[in-house]
């Protein structure tokens, strides 16, 4: 089964660099998402793995096979890489029925008639599209077209499945259903999935590992919860999580014992790193506090004013004013707060992040308290 290795992959379009010296190893059986804002090079990376795009530099291995190398002049064509590719616009063949769309590739692979029919029946059942077998794509809804596209891609049982924002054309409800189905599909097939998306929730909920890209540069490549809990830099912290993380600029005022004193106007915080780090006084830092790490509590030492309150039923998202600082807070449970009311707040848990202001890199994770 394939493990995919990208070594120093660079892709230039004229002068602009789409992907910049990317090293990436995708383990066999993994579900890896390539995540990032539009134009970050994620789709280009996926297409280079597929062999639909030719890298400018670097090497790509699928399994033990070198499929691309700019130096050795190797470029294995897409059809020889044993992949399945799911396109954003489905790319169903409009002049073929659902049945034909699914079987066309198999006929081409010289499968026997009975094998093809068997596989077709399996897929129709698996994707719940039995009743549409003889319809044309234009007679199907978006969700149904997507199912057909997935069935077509799965037909030849590819060991590696590449997906380019396959759910972005679906409505929210359908998207949730399809997410669950894709995850199930991954478990059932045991294939390696590489999935491109700009939707961080999709990336978080689906993948075993997230590869976060920005302007063609790799930002972080970790498990979703790791990305969430230990973002490598400010960009990653900000990109992942909804509602987004609170990032507050702070000055380091001094160290006392294991605590680092931070100050921004009237707001003072003591940060306790999980491991000893040396951060000199006067350094500019950014503290990252996830919304669920701030708690409304009578014992809280800081006092904030409710600016807005958005109750969702399961939780309520609050926008607080702490002096000049704005904070997003998630309160779990069905609860609402009147605008303008004063509440005491405190920080909980060990997941508070401290970043260097200048480089944006993560300095440490730890706990913190208002003073």
């Amino acid at each position: 089964m394939p493990k995919i290795v990208l070594k120093g992959i660079t892709k230039r379009f004229g002068k602009s660099v789409a992907v910049d010296n990317l090293d990436l190893t995708i383990e066999d059986g993994a579900f890896v998402t390539l995540l990032g804002p539009s134009g970050c090079g994620k789709t280009t990376t996926l297409r280079m793995i597929a062999g639909l795009e030719t890298p400018t530099e670097g090497e790509i291995y699928i399994g033990d096979n070198l499929v691309f190398s700019s130096e050795k002049g190797v470029d294995v064509s897409a059809d020889k890489r044993n992949i399945g590719f799911l396109f954003q616009n489905y790319a169903l063949w409009p002049h073929m029925t659902v049945r034909k769309n699914i079987t066309f590739g198999l006929e081409n692979l010289k499968w026997s008639k009975s094998d093809i029919n068997k596989r077709l029946d399996e897929l129709l059942v698996q994707m719940h599209i039995e009743e549409y077998a003889d319809r044309y794509p234009s007679e199907l809804s978006g969700g149904q077209q997507q199912r057909v596209a997935i069935a077509r891609t799965l037909a030849s049982k590819p060991a590696l499945l590449l997906m380019d924002e396959p759910l972005s054309n679906l409505d929210a409800k359908l998207r949730l259903d399809m997410r669950a189905e894709l995850k199930k599909l991954h478990a059932e097939t045991g294939s390696t999935f590489v999935y491109v998306t700009h939707d961080q929730q999709e990336a978080m909920s689906l993948s075993t590992k997230v590869c976060l890209l920005k302007n063609g540069l790799l930002q972080q490549y970790s498990a979703p919860l790791e990305i969430y809990g230990r973002p490598a830099n400010v960009f990653t912290a900000d990109f992942v999580g909804s509602p987004s993380i609170n990032l507050v600029d702070m000055d380091v005022s001094g160290t006392s014992g294991d605590g680092i004193g931070l100050k921004n106007g009237s707001c003072s915080i003591v940060f306790h790193p999980e491991k000893n780090v040396d951060i000199p006084a006067g350094r500019k830092v950014v503290i990252g506090i996830r919304p669920e790490m701030i708690r409304i509590s009578d014992s809280g030492r800081a006092h904030a004013v409710i600016d807005s309150s958005l109750p969702y039923g399961m939780e309520t998202v609050l926008c607080l004013k702490l002096g000049d600082i704005q904070l997003l807070v998630v309160v779990f449970g069905s609860i609402d707060f009147p605008k303008g009311s004063r509440e005491s707040i405190e920080m909980t848990g060990n997941g508070i992040c401290l970043f260097d202001k200048e480089s944006g890199e993560l300095l440490s994770v730890g706990s913190a308290e208002f003073v």
Binding site: A50, G51, L52, T54, E71, K72, G73, V74, D75, S77, A78, D79, K80, R81, I83, G84, F85, F87, Q88, N89, Y90, A91, L92, W93, P94, H95, F104, G105, N108, L109, P137, S138, G142, Q145, R152, S156, N169
Partner: protein, 593 residues
């Protein structure tokens, strides 16, 4: 070195690269090399010019032709005035063609106008007919006695004598040429209107944009590329059109560049003719350059994705009936009425007398006439029919196939230098006036060059020149249709290992069947009615219907000429219907329907 070899191998592994490479080589020879010949011809003394250029010998270098055009007392009459006439006629034709074709396309595709099926079928007719037959029809109706001869049907019926400006000169030339190319505008603009994602317009509707505003701010900008393509095609056709200005301009001595060129090529001053041909080509090239600059920045809107959508027809409401009736009458006048005039003119025994007693089928069926046998019992006419059909089939197969492949390769490698080069090569033949093109091929293929034998007098030469000349239509339609298929549609098959020829024959071509078939049909119909291109190259054994018509027409055999015109139109319409039946696609269905 090894890496270079790999690169070459990887390059050649892609079929689009091989197609581009092969086309670049072959078309360079058939399209670019003629320019060298034509250029050399403008600088050398031709046999018939020895008397004009004192002390010269045949083949000698001379600046005589160019100085005569740009720097002599005759410049105005030999060049400047015909140039001005050409520009006026070409621009006027563009306005008529785009206006009439565009409005018709919009009515036929986007509104609930009645009788669409019959109208769209009929509307293509002027394009199927040679443009100079429409001129012939104009003449049948509106000719007056001021220039000499008997007045036309209009005068015979109403008693009103038509003024010269209406019967001859720029006005009828513009109308006839414009109406002839209106179907082209309809095909190109209609193609976009039909395939345009209606979300684009609906997006504007939801924003409470008025219908009027939407038309001007959304619909028209989206069809701008199609309008521009129509413009350059009609403009260059107008500039190089020969038959119509010859027919409608000559009686009042109204010369355009092409008729001026013909006069010189056929007269005693061929070098001057070649020089004018070069200028014509240069003008067309300049237009294409401008077009490329404009379109280059906003070249393509992918209007068809893998997702399907439908648009709703605009309701004409109270105007539905008046507009439908008006359009039907209009379409009738430009299509059926000319045919009726040919039929009538082929029946009258004594010209100018349109009474029933004066009509008979003698010019069709009698074999003992004073001039020559009636057209249906005439061996020459039958041979010409056979040759014309065979030539049209071969040229359309050649041009259609090459155009389809070229379109595919050009779009897949869009933006690459080789692709741009081939794209331009496939279009250049359109810019070379037919008459000049055939004159050059005549001299180019008179002798053998290396492995290429002397082809003059062979049917093969007619096939080659026809294929090359009609390639632009087919390659345009190939490029347009390939642009409309999102690349993902093919990539979905690529990753499954579907080989290239199978992707072409089972996915790409079937999806764009209609427009690809029209890439075959356009060359076919053009070839059936072509005169200018073949008139210098045919021999008695390769005589064509149009050249028979030309002979009869210049001999004043009016009834025969009108009868043969009818035969040509009938054959083309029949062929269209046949292809329509066989493939379920046609020129009109490609866009209207």
């Amino acid at each position: 070195m090894a890496i270079r070899a790999y690169k070459v191998r990887n390059f050649l592994r892609k079929p689009q690269n091989i197609i581009l490479l092969v086309l670049a080589i072959i078309l360079s020879y058939l399209v670019l090399v003629p320019f060298v010949y034509i250029l050399a011809d403008t600088f050398s003394v031709h046999p018939s010019e020895i008397m004009r250029i004192p002390g010269s010998r045949v083949g000698e270098f001379t600046l005589y032709h160019w100085s005569k055009i740009f720097a002599s007392a005759d410049s105005y009459t030999t060049f400047v005035q015909p140039l001005a006439h050409s520009l006026v006629c070409a621009l006027g034709s563009c306005v008529v063609a785009i206006g009439v074709g565009g409005i018709f396309a919009w009515l036929a595709i986007r509104t609930d106008m009645k009788w669409k099926k019959i109208m769209t079928t009929l509307f293509i007719m002027p394009y199927i007919m040679p443009s100079w037959t429409l001129a012939l029809a104009w003449n049948n109706f509106f000719k007056n006695s001021l220039v000499g001869g008997v007045p036309g049907i209009f005068t015979a019926i109403t008693g009103i004598s038509t003024p010269n400006w209406f019967a001859y000169g720029p006005f009828p030339i513009i109308m006839v040429t414009g109406l002839h190319y209106a179907p082209f505008a309809y095909i190109l603009i209609g193609g976009i209107l039909r395939n345009m994602d209606s979300n684009l317009e609906e997006a504007a509707i939801v924003m409470k944009t008025s219908k009027f505003r939407m038309m001007f701010r959304i619909t028209i900008p989206l069809v701008t590329p199609a309008v521009l393509s129509t413009f350059i095609l009609v403009f260059s056709s107008g500039m190089s059109s020969f038959g119509t200005p010859q027919f409608l301009g000559l009686p009042v001595k109204y010369y355009v560049l092409t008729t001026q060129m013909y006069r010189n090529l056929n007269g005693t001053n061929p070098g001057l003719g070649y020089a004018i041909a070069l200028i014509l080509i240069a003008i067309s090239l300049a237009i294409m350059g401008i077009n490329q600059i404009i379109l280059g920045t906003r070249k393509s809107y992918t209007t068809v994705s893998g997702k399907s959508s439908n648009f709703s027809l605009m309701k004409l409401k109270k105007l539905r009936m008046p507009i439908s009736v008006f359009m039907l009458v209009f379409v009738f006048i430009i299509t059926i009425v000319p045919l009726v005039s040919f039929a009538i003119e082929s029946l009258v025994t004594v010209p100018g007398d349109y009474s029933l007693e004066n009509m008979s089928f003698r010019y069709w069926t009698d074999s003992d006439l004073a001039l020559t046998e009636g057209v249906l019992v005439n061996a020459t006419v039958w041979r010409a029919i056979r040759n014309s059909v065979l030539l049209a089939v071969l040229c359309s197969v050649g041009a259609g196939t090459v155009g389809c492949l070229a379109g595919y390769a050009i779009v897949r490698r869009w933006g690459a230098k080789l692709s741009t080069f081939v794209n331009n090569l496939t279009f250049i033949p359109y810019l070379i006036p037919s008459m000049a093109f055939s004159a050059i091929y005549l001299s180019m293929f008179a002798k053998s060059h290396g492995p290429i034998p002397a082809l003059y007098g062979t049917f093969a030469l007619l096939i080659i020149i026809g294929t090359v000349k009609y390639l632009p239509m087919a390659s345009r339609s190939g490029v347009n249709s390939m642009f409309q298929i999102s690349a993902q549609i093919e990539e979905a098959a690529v990753v499954m290992g579907v080989p290239w020829w199978k992707r072409m024959t089972q996915i790409l071509i079937p999806i764009q069947k209609a427009s690809i078939v029209s890439g075959y049909l356009l060359p076919f119909t053009s070839c059936m009615r072509e005169l200018d291109l073949f008139v210098l190259l045919y021999t008695p054994s390769s005589i064509l219907l149009t050249t028979v018509l030309f002979q009869y027409n210049s001999k004043g055999f009016d009834q025969y000429a009108n009868a043969i015109t009818l035969i040509i139109i009938l054959l083309v319409v029949l062929m269209n219907a046949l292809v329509n039946k066989l493939t379920g696609a046609s020129i009109s269905k490609g866009v209207g329907g």
